[in-house]
Symmetry: D2
Subunit: 354 residues, 4 copies
Amino acid sequence: MPTSPRKDFSSDNITGVAPKILAAIQAASAGTVHSYGADPYTDALRHHANELFERAVTIVPVATGTAANAIALSVLARPYQAIYCPASAHVNTDECGAPEFFSNGAKLLGLPSEDGKLVPGQLTEAVAFARSMGVHHVEPAAVTLSQATEWGTIYRLEELAALCTEAHSLGLRVHMDGARFANAVARLGCTPAEATWKVGIDALSFGATKNGALAAEAIVVFDPSLLTELEYRRKRSGHLWSKHRFLSAQLSAYIADGLWLANGRQSNAMADRLAAGLAAIAGARCLQSVDANEIFIQLPESVIAALRAAGFEFYDWPAPPAGASGPVVRLVTSFDMVEADIDGFLAVARQSAG
Amino acid sequence: MPTSPRKDFSSDNITGVAPKILAAIQAASAGTVHSYGADPYTDALRHHANELFERAVTIVPVATGTAANAIALSVLARPYQAIYCPASAHVNTDECGAPEFFSNGAKLLGLPSEDGKLVPGQLTEAVAFARSMGVHHVEPAAVTLSQATEWGTIYRLEELAALCTEAHSLGLRVHMDGARFANAVARLGCTPAEATWKVGIDALSFGATKNGALAAEAIVVFDPSLLTELEYRRKRSGHLWSKHRFLSAQLSAYIADGLWLANGRQSNAMADRLAAGLAAIAGARCLQSVDANEIFIQLPESVIAALRAAGFEFYDWPAPPAGASGPVVRLVTSFDMVEADIDGFLAVARQSAG
Amino acid sequence: MPTSPRKDFSSDNITGVAPKILAAIQAASAGTVHSYGADPYTDALRHHANELFERAVTIVPVATGTAANAIALSVLARPYQAIYCPASAHVNTDECGAPEFFSNGAKLLGLPSEDGKLVPGQLTEAVAFARSMGVHHVEPAAVTLSQATEWGTIYRLEELAALCTEAHSLGLRVHMDGARFANAVARLGCTPAEATWKVGIDALSFGATKNGALAAEAIVVFDPSLLTELEYRRKRSGHLWSKHRFLSAQLSAYIADGLWLANGRQSNAMADRLAAGLAAIAGARCLQSVDANEIFIQLPESVIAALRAAGFEFYDWPAPPAGASGPVVRLVTSFDMVEADIDGFLAVARQSAG
Amino acid sequence: MPTSPRKDFSSDNITGVAPKILAAIQAASAGTVHSYGADPYTDALRHHANELFERAVTIVPVATGTAANAIALSVLARPYQAIYCPASAHVNTDECGAPEFFSNGAKLLGLPSEDGKLVPGQLTEAVAFARSMGVHHVEPAAVTLSQATEWGTIYRLEELAALCTEAHSLGLRVHMDGARFANAVARLGCTPAEATWKVGIDALSFGATKNGALAAEAIVVFDPSLLTELEYRRKRSGHLWSKHRFLSAQLSAYIADGLWLANGRQSNAMADRLAAGLAAIAGARCLQSVDANEIFIQLPESVIAALRAAGFEFYDWPAPPAGASGPVVRLVTSFDMVEADIDGFLAVARQSAG
């Protein structure tokens, strides 16, 4: 568990806890408070969330992103309904069927996407087809998109607004998987309100774990009538902590002084620095716009081998997008990386590229 | 959130984190480790668990007792099967249908119990009836019991052995809800092995949260073939932490130096001291044997009123057992209580009793 | 498969198809019609149902009573909710967890009953308790009762009205399992409207199979907004017949000329005749009021033995109600029994009783 | 509901009941027999099934193809597992999520197909990917294919054998959706045994409804250890008929004298005649090999319009396969069509084509 220089670029979930969040956990441990969320830490979190989103919101904390996504989706779609998503969405490919489990079998219908993003008009076509089939086809109910996407790209606000308008006009509600929401907002330079309810998002998984928390994500919805169902479903799925203060304290520390945004900016900046440095390598080719903290990049085999020989870690990407002629790797930066970490990586890469 | 003297006797989940566990979380936060359990903290936990149970065990950590119970039960019973339990079991009354959710609709069949404990012969009768009904009745598959029980009582080892033998002879597997396992083992003066697999327990929810952890429980099974299903179900239900080290570190600290047992002993001792002190109050009558850290006690209304006026907190018990003629309250002690806390409670009680 | 005299009194589902219904099936087989219910037979059924219930109703045919009950309940309760029922209800004891399956794990909460009937005030108490528990207890949503009950008794209209008023005031909707609805209406001498929506029933399983159909029951609801969900859930559970005309034709024949009521009257009359005859046997004691076509009766062992020796079939009843000192058997009459069938049974009984 | 000449070519589920099956229903209605399958008609069906498949088989009748498919799949895959299928499979597109419902959320993973058929090697690749993802991806468990396919094509025996070998080598079990099994076997000229277990099929939905039954399909499995689970799941899903004899009688009449095969041959022959006749129309182009009783054909708009003006019914096909430059319609023949029906259609088509 060496701490410096960082050699692991495989993910942002390999990180520890941001010091301010760790301190908040420690502080919250003093004394007794009522269990299951009837505590001052949770009251404070509600206050922070309302401020952050510039309106009254409903916030329901859980420990994992899979839980946040799946619980949120389960209140947006009944078991006999359809949830549209990019075929490449995390909820569709990496959560072992959690949305199907929590929704009791609602069907995720994967749509082709461009750079991980849904394309306007797709929903209209898919819903029209579904409705032409009547009861033989699951009933359209919701759509989920990721911001940032699984490909490290970011929807612009006008793209979000257009998709939400399309979805709402079809009677669908829109969920945003914000496991890397901070990276997206940091890049967009907008407010959380602008990035969500002001463009029409109905439910958000507000991620914190990848960006500095120990284990904390929040389901945030803008329709208060969903609160009761969310709370029953959270309890029923074992995601209501008895010592709830420790979820709330993490999230309050994350929100309170803008830590979430600062951390998102830092990992974005590290990704920019890394991408810029790699651009100078002959044969290197970024496959996507580096919008957040992930880089999908084609690199010469010799460079990849040299990096690994030097102890750097990252994933080979199993399904390179169209146009990649060589091996593709994924590099992920995180909130706790510093310039020296990036420069260490780049030094080896440059050297091996000759 | 005053810390001393303690006035909240409402539950053991109102407590903070035991210092050693908090320190372990802090230590584990340094540096990067692989996510999802492929980390040295989780390796260490496996080692500690094997030592604790004196054999190779399968241990799967989660954050809540509800998750531990429900995931464990879901690998013991198919959706069309029956899980027998005392009608008063926590899984049946306090978990919002979590076992039904995780098992996809298996049926909990509540049996009458004595002091929260299953009675020998009940299973045989219930299973015989079920089998006489064929496919019209859910198929018997498992039984779950709590140690300590919801009534603060404890099964003796020979009681457990008899129930497990009965269950196994009927083809049922046995789960133990050990949310307060430490209290039970501390009182029984036996080893964890003797309290579980040596008497025939197939799966254990090894509780830590009520006894000092932040949020950590472990599913422990003694049949390694269940591991794969447990792990898929944990992921699918959103209970696999990406920063898994923080579950493992809590549990290792809890197990490593006998902290779990010391904490269990302390809360038991505080319950004993409290029960002994209350026995001197005229009109006080303990309804159960105080085996663990819970006291169900009939108290004069004036005493209850005085305690509440002095700021003490505890629950009125909604369904007093047969024989209670007056109001019954539940008093719960915890690992972090000290004699002064108990004595403060007793002083007010005695004074109000005149 | 001898037809006369009938010796099998074990159930009313051992019967064949009423001739008029068989003829309707045969007639409906001619030619082609659109599948999945877009056919004239289904249009006709809707017409008949509206007439029968004296208002526009929503009718959704299926093949089995288990399906009718479970689909109906699944639209009245979400997975995290509670459905109250008598502990002895068919849905709770004889359907292999079908309500749990269709509702994705909603919890049936069995209440003690008198003669198979819910007792006023129980719901109020149970719901108050549930609500005091918050998210730890499944959320109260619905209640289901059987008319006639599993004990062959019948709720009077004023009993139904009182229970529905109580349920509605608590925010619960009321389902009626009418597997033997015809027997109940025949006995009450009221109209189907009076027996259902006029007293507050929200959803009815309108049984036909036991009373003359081949395989046909109808879910009838009085809130048309439930139609869409019912139809999706029917399809999804494999209960939408492609040759839907054959469900509709059965039910239309059953309703059209009052066949349902005539058949219900006949089986009731046969039960009355049987009960009256048995009353003369020394040691015979009916345990319930014979309201429909079931008789739960204590008989001398010698009489039981003689009947079985003569080839008569019926069930020993496994759980005799309080007060039965000897063996109890269940005798069921059916729409196709005639007086000679009853008299044959009585002759042997009388003879053996000496 | 005119019977002749037939003008509805929209599906094979618009048909009535084959006379021999109707007669069998009528005959089975006489007298009483035990309910739920403990009757001589069901015994006879087991005998017929064993003869048909040339070995002891496990047969479980239900009323619909959706139920047969979904129940069969639910015993082959746990909720956290994957079922591979052609993306175009009926179970994936036309059953409103029934497999997800019955399996409690197992995930159907659609694979691209050629002419509706799975392609060798796909499974190997998909399973390798799944396993590389560990618990983040649903666990591979089963594959389902349709024979005949949704595109009216048929797997040759050697194709089936290769797919089954591939699946089994990966640890997957293979289900065959045989809604049009008779058409396939009739065309292949093989025995049912050769078409199923001899090439490695583990579970078959043996269709009868489209081919002459009122409402009857059979789940047939070749591993008797699955019987218990199948029967519990059938009951639990409301698909166990109380008057089970009427399912068994239909299926026995369907199997007994080779009716199933004769009917399959007849609808195939009618499709051949229709395809041959249409081949002479300028601009007509069959998109698939006409292997069974479905024709997907590109026709001039004028011909389509003329046919509809003359009262003929058929579906426009929503998603024409690659290569279709004009409107595509689906024409389906059935067991009860005769040459005059086909010739009537062809006469109008030829005339309109000029």
